[in-house]
Symmetry: C2
Subunit: 490 residues, 2 copies
Amino acid sequence: MTVTDLTTTTSAGECERLLVAAHDAANAWGSKRPAERARVLDGIANAIDEAAGKLLPLAEEETNLSRGRLSSELQRTTFQLRLFGQQLRDGAYLRAIIDLPDPQWPMGAPRPDLRRTHVPIGPVVVFAASNFPFAFSVAGGDTASALAAGNPVLVKAHSGHPRLSAMTADVVTSVLEAAGAPEGVFGLLYGVEAGRTALADPRIKAGSFTGSIPGGRALMDIAVSRPDPIPFYGELGSNNPVFVTEQAAHQRPTEIAEGFVNSFSLGAGQFCTKPGTLFVPAGSDIVPRLEAAVLPAAAKLLNGRIAGGYQASLGELTSHPHVEVLAQGTESSPDAPSPTLLKTQARHLLEDPRVLESECFGPAALVIEYDDESQLVPLATTFEGQLTATIYAGDTCDVNNLVQVLREKAGRLLWNQWPTGVSVTYAQQHGGPYPATTSPGSTSVGTAAIERFLRPVAFQGFPRHLLPEELQDANPLGIPQTVNQPTQSA
Amino acid sequence: MTVTDLTTTTSAGECERLLVAAHDAANAWGSKRPAERARVLDGIANAIDEAAGKLLPLAEEETNLSRGRLSSELQRTTFQLRLFGQQLRDGAYLRAIIDLPDPQWPMGAPRPDLRRTHVPIGPVVVFAASNFPFAFSVAGGDTASALAAGNPVLVKAHSGHPRLSAMTADVVTSVLEAAGAPEGVFGLLYGVEAGRTALADPRIKAGSFTGSIPGGRALMDIAVSRPDPIPFYGELGSNNPVFVTEQAAHQRPTEIAEGFVNSFSLGAGQFCTKPGTLFVPAGSDIVPRLEAAVLPAAAKLLNGRIAGGYQASLGELTSHPHVEVLAQGTESSPDAPSPTLLKTQARHLLEDPRVLESECFGPAALVIEYDDESQLVPLATTFEGQLTATIYAGDTCDVNNLVQVLREKAGRLLWNQWPTGVSVTYAQQHGGPYPATTSPGSTSVGTAAIERFLRPVAFQGFPRHLLPEELQDANPLGIPQTVNQPTQSA
């Protein structure tokens, strides 16, 4: 295993070589049977698990995240690779639909033999995130789902963990080589310029990103401004508000206060699903408990840029005339800030939502006291698109209107649970309207993430031997096929 | 039924009123049970069928299309509305997935109760097309699928058939009113400026368009440049090449020549799936048959702008040094041009693909003679994204590589059939990589078109009574639910 020399960024010539190789590998990789790609994904997962002893210390050194946190993330990452493998074996992801010919089709013209499947979109460039050096980085969810879909992947490494990126890439590459995959199926790029060059290149057919709003928007603008625009799946920013009803605040003030402190400060607040805002009834027992809470110790943030951004965001909030500090740990330093809880009142949020609802990436959150539950719907309405929105309530609370507003705002709604800790499952939805993501119809976590990197193709009147296997009558792959959907009188 | 006054375009004030109304109607319309919306779509279909006697003469007058052609299109349009209604009753379109809690979830943390459905994306602006005054216009596929998904729709009327647009809108509005739908569920806009204003407005959550590459790209740029970018589904341009193998040319020259003439000149060549290029072996019997073909009579094009664009495109092709006229009708006029067949050789296409492969909207097509079948793959490779690509071949022809290249280029591949006449079915795919569309993962024809106007939302840990009906254990809607997908050891 060799760690790439990191003194320079990827040169234009090397970038071109990787783009050519990715282009040339697309057909061979995309043409493999899904189960063959699943074996390779399993192999990558196994190899990462085996390399954990080398990967984890390097991750700890480069990101300042704790060993326990990183170890869980690595487990999540290899589980994710295997789950996409399982999805490939299952085959439902192809959404194979077969319409047999129908001379009486009520459209007024006979229905031809039409069969629809999904094919790989083409080479993908993945921009890795800083805050999940495994799960949203070199071998993370975007890479796993794009490879599973049958696409070559170029990962633009995050500058926050360059050596871990190289080591992870070496693990991935070794497995691909041993499996006989074409060389260009996977490549690693370093540096902003290389990433931009790849995203703008006509051989790249989609881009994905997890990071900040300005960074993601700048990349999206490149993708959509190309002579041939391509899909860009960016996960940008989210405040993840939590709404506590009067009943819940009355019945469970301690549980809610403790849970909130734990969730907002987890991983030093560096989760995209960190709850940034907590709405509580004025005068409830939650605020005193938060004020008296023993906050977790200060922890070093991911890197200097993150720390600088956090100080700037926090400064903007604390200098707001109607924001006060509710609780703050001692022993703070610019690189390792103490968790901080701020407080304001609902009327100030209604007056100035943009500042008070902006994401503050790091261990801070804003508690907002409301006077009356009837304010919750107007308060929720002020938010932009979110990854999550949470309600703490009793089962008898009338929150129908609040749920209705929040489902227009967010991709995932939670009930009496905290938004941090995103489960990788079939029903997961990690996405939402802008600026939560640039593509509200997609998810970057869960099995549905594979759909971002597929494109539908229909075959009309094709002979059996030229159809993709998943569309053949004999169904040699044994996958779910939807044949001749029932036609009621139309 | 009143026909709107057309002397002016929609004013800024009226546009604002429609945007407010669409925004205000979203919740009520989107909250209706799918079967209730299906009843409304059926009602619109019935009302359009009943109004055919008034609609068809107006369409004929405004578009120059024949009564027979328009009558078929109207039938297709009302069938389409009913098919989306059927899809709503079936409920599979919601893709309801239920993951029950699993304490042993191999990710390393217990799996919560997670349930995913799809919700309406929000108010949609639909830019109507000129060439399908029913099926891709006021009550066409985009309107039907967006309404079916639960979204209010503002249609920007095409200037080519303003009175038909108004009359169709009145039919739609009458049905919606009678059904008690909120007023803003449907509105009609006139004029380029009103369309742009609506597309840029924060209350609009998606746009769709069928038309030219420059027009579509300009609108896409508005959608993606908003402070909050939104999905834009544009169907722009396509050449729809047809590849004839030597065997097919040898065995069926007459059938292929006749079929091609019929397909390229159908509706005066004003279909987005018109085959613009026919590749035939040099020296085959097809070219002499085309040369001798009796071409259909000249027909008046949709309008003066279309006719002007056609003359310009045709002029560019005929002035190409290596393009010659193969066959052309007499009695041509600028507004009613005769069908025209042009011819060149494969080597010229390889040298200058951009000009020779550009779409010529109207009754012209280019026949390209190749010397050897081995040229077909490199020829296919030169094309940009296409709606369709067609192969005429015998069952023993080795066209595997050609199929592989074409499925990277096009959304629908046809085998020994012509691409015009797009069937509205479950497996249909009407889309493709840019510039065929701006969104390669979507279709604008067939039941999957509804997915463009939906957004996934997951509910975590929700009590039964607050879940959408499609996610409840009792499944009161009786729709397909995927519960606890099988987990092999992962």
